[in-house]
């Protein structure tokens, strides 16, 4: 049985243990040759023999059991695509971006040599494709749905205060640590380098996943993996909108014709020759956020997941589960890697009746209902500073738990007896981080390199769209919605926000 990590065991060591567990019983097989994967979005995707070895390894195969959009498929039924197909797609799109940049470079600077080479077995392109393929291996159960829970629990926060990792999401940091792990490196050396004869430095791959490169002239390669217009976004915008049935588009042909590189403060950076492709990326992303990722039912599902995991965290003895010899209590970010979506929702080994009841709700799609809406339409004093106080509760779920506790306490005794404390959930969503770094525009090879907002206020427009769509909700089981609304309104008013009860009730279908 794996021993619990705890604060004395470093994150590196805990990730090492996870990868060792993941590879247990895995017999490395050297693929016979390259493969072509047919994809609904991107068509034929070619992978070299050493890449097939990585794809067939547990580190990537695990991603087949993690849905790309977490719990979104409960609302958009066809959104059952996985992190696996997304990872293949990002590798393909990264390759296409690389080729487009190289072609443009050759056309614009015929006298100069392109700084990166095309060798898919050992060159820069091989490293780029490998980084793209591995960029999401740090995703755990329910993807971003769980990320917002474990980020509040763990020493990952210390990494986020480090200059080197400050721009990276938790999943990216875990991906980096996984590919640096002893077990993965040993397997990679034996199979990918030893048997498939690829020459790939995992340190370079790790840096690229973090959006970094030691060579300033090759910095743009890391931006293809992680930047405001990276291959990750190009793939998930196309893939998520397709599987959710939204008619969004990024004109990839146009994008490839506009992408180039330029010198900016001694680094070679990605630039766009026009802001139009970026406009499509930002607005498609904003619409995906408002229509899909922050859909009120998706937030409700996220809150139900949080309530379930919160209950497991509060009752570790009766709720801990064993997965192939590993004891999982969800009190550490790494625990979320041990569990995949199918395992979590099929867990018969959860002995706790509340957890069983909640998993039953997911099975039957018996979702909580909205009780109170906090938004510009339902709050009288929306222009007051009290709005900031309310939003601050969204900083982490421990602060939200205090509000939920207070609502629970305010319930009438007879209602409280029918309600579990974890049945009351408050969602105060944060806005999507529209920008991890600057996006650059250079309208011609001789024009100055400008940040996109110097050129056109695209990001600010997208952000203000998000502001107007922002909603915060209190959720509870449908049968308790009315009394929970009564109690929640009192708590929210004590915090200082005056709720227009008639409007909130109407929006929440309580009248």
């Amino acid at each position: 049985m794996r021993t619990a990590g705890g604060p004395l065991v470093s994150l590196h060591e805990r990730v090492d243990k996870f990868v060792e567990w993941l590879f247990q019983g895995f017999e490395p097989i050297v693929p016979r040759g390259s493969k072509v994967f047919n994809d609904a979005i991107l068509g034929n995707q070619h992978f070299a023999r050493h890449e097939v070895a990585v794809i067939d390894s547990p580190i990537i195969q695990r991603l087949k059991r993690i849905k790309q959009t977490g719990l979104v498929h409960f609302v958009f039924p066809s959104a059952t695509h996985s992190r696996f197909e997304h990872s293949l797609g990002v590798a393909t799109l990264a390759d296409r971006c690389f080729s487009a940049i190289a072609n443009r470079f050759a056309a614009e600077f015929p006298q100069k040599a392109f700084p990166a080479n095309f060798d898919r077995l050992s060159g820069h392109l091989a490293h780029l494709r490998m980084a793209a393929l591995l960029h999401d291996v740090g995703h755990g159960v329910c993807s971003h749905g769980a990320e917002q829970i474990y980020q509040a629990l763990t020493d990952l926060r210390e990494f986020k205060r480090d200059e080197r990792f400050v721009k990276n999401a938790e999943g990216e940091i875990l991906s980096y640590l996984i590919i640096q792990s002893t077990t993965f490196r040993r397997w990679f050396d034996q199979i990918v380098i030893g048997q498939c004869h690829a020459q790939i430095d995992l340190n370079v791959v790790g840096d690229m996943i973090l959006g970094q490169h030691q060579d300033p002239q090759l910095y743009f390669l890391s931006q293809i993996v992680s930047s405001p217009f990276d291959a990750d976004k190009l793939d998930y915008i196309a893939r998520d909108s397709y599987y959710c049935g939204l008619a969004l588009t990024v004109d990839l042909a146009r994008f490839y014709s506009m992408i180039a590189t330029a010198e900016e403060k001694a680094k070679r950076v990605l630039v766009l020759r026009s802001y139009i492709p970026l406009e499509q990326i930002l607005f498609s992303r904003m619409i995906l956020f408002s229509s899909v990722y922050q859909h009120q039912k998706v937030k409700c599902l996220d809150m139900m997941l949080r309530g379930t995991i919160q209950h497991i965290l509060d009752n570790p003895d009766q709720c801990a589960v064993e997965i192939r010899g590993a004891k999982v209590t969800f009190n550490d970010a790494i625990d979320y890697l041990y569990v995949t979506d199918d395992e979590f929702f099929n867990m018969q080994s959860f002995g706790d009746p509340y957890v069983k009841k909640m998993l039953g709700r997911f099975w039957r799609r018996d979702l909580f209902a909205r009780c109170v809406e906090v938004s510009r339409m339902t709050v009288e004093n929306w222009d007051g500073f009290e709005r900031k106080i309310w939003m601050d509760y969204g900083r982490d779920f421990q602060q939200l738990s205090a509000v939920e506790d207070e609502i629970y306490k305010r319930l009438d005794g007879s209602v409280r007896s029918k309600c579990n404390r974890d049945d009351i959930k408050v969602s105060v969503p944060t806005l999507p981080a529209m920008k991890k770094d600057f996006a650059y525009i250079q309208t011609s090879p001789t024009a100055p390199v400008q940040t996109v907002e110097e050129f056109f206020p695209l990001e600010q427009w997208a952000e203000s769209y998000g502001h107007n769509k922002w909603r915060s909700y209190v959720y509870a089981p449908r049968e308790l919605a009315k009394p929970v609304a009564d109690a929640a309104v009192k708590v929210i008013e004590d915090i200082g926000l005056k709720i227009k009860r008639d409007v909130s009730d109407r929006h929440c279908h309580l009248t």
Binding site: R387, K435, S464
Partner: protein, 137 residues
């Protein structure tokens, strides 16, 4: 420049930005406080300030991995203060950022009671340096 060594005010990044801007408004004589700045200029100003005041980069951690310094904390703080109604941006070009009246109320009623004298003085020094660097309108 030699950094000023002090203990840092213990504030979340968005609260620190809110306090700096509210104190800048007071130093500017009250009334409407507005300045013209692209995000990249604001990042540069705060990156410069972080070299002068050593507590500031602990609040706004800057990444130097790209060609220009960038602090996601600062970027998120601006977005949060806009969403919370403390900061506004003027249409249509969004270049002018202004403090809404709620910002002063939030500082006076919520933040100031949590700050000791030394912290307020630290924040005031940064606010003063900020005014000197930014293009006021």
């Amino acid at each position: 420049m030699t950094p000023t060594t002090t203990s840092r005010p213990s504030l979340a990044p968005d609260d620190a930005l809110s306090a700096i801007l509210a104190l800048a408004t007071k130093q500017h004589g009250g009334g409407r406080f507005a300045f013209r700045a692209h995000d990249s200029e604001l990042q540069e100003i705060f990156s410069d300030l972080a070299e002068e005041y050593d507590w500031l980069p602990k609040v706004f951690v800057f990444s130097n991995t790209g060609p220009r310094p960038f602090s996601p904390d600062l970027n998120d703080s601006i977005a949060k203060l806009q969403l919370a109604g403390l900061l506004g941006r003027e249409n249509p070009d969004y270049q002018i950022i202004f403090l809404r009246p709620a910002a002063q109320g939030y500082f006076d009623k919520v933040l100031a009671p949590r700050l000791d004298k030394e912290s307020v003085e630290q924040l005031e020094r940064v606010a003063s340096a900020f005014i000197a660097k930014v293009r006021l309108v």
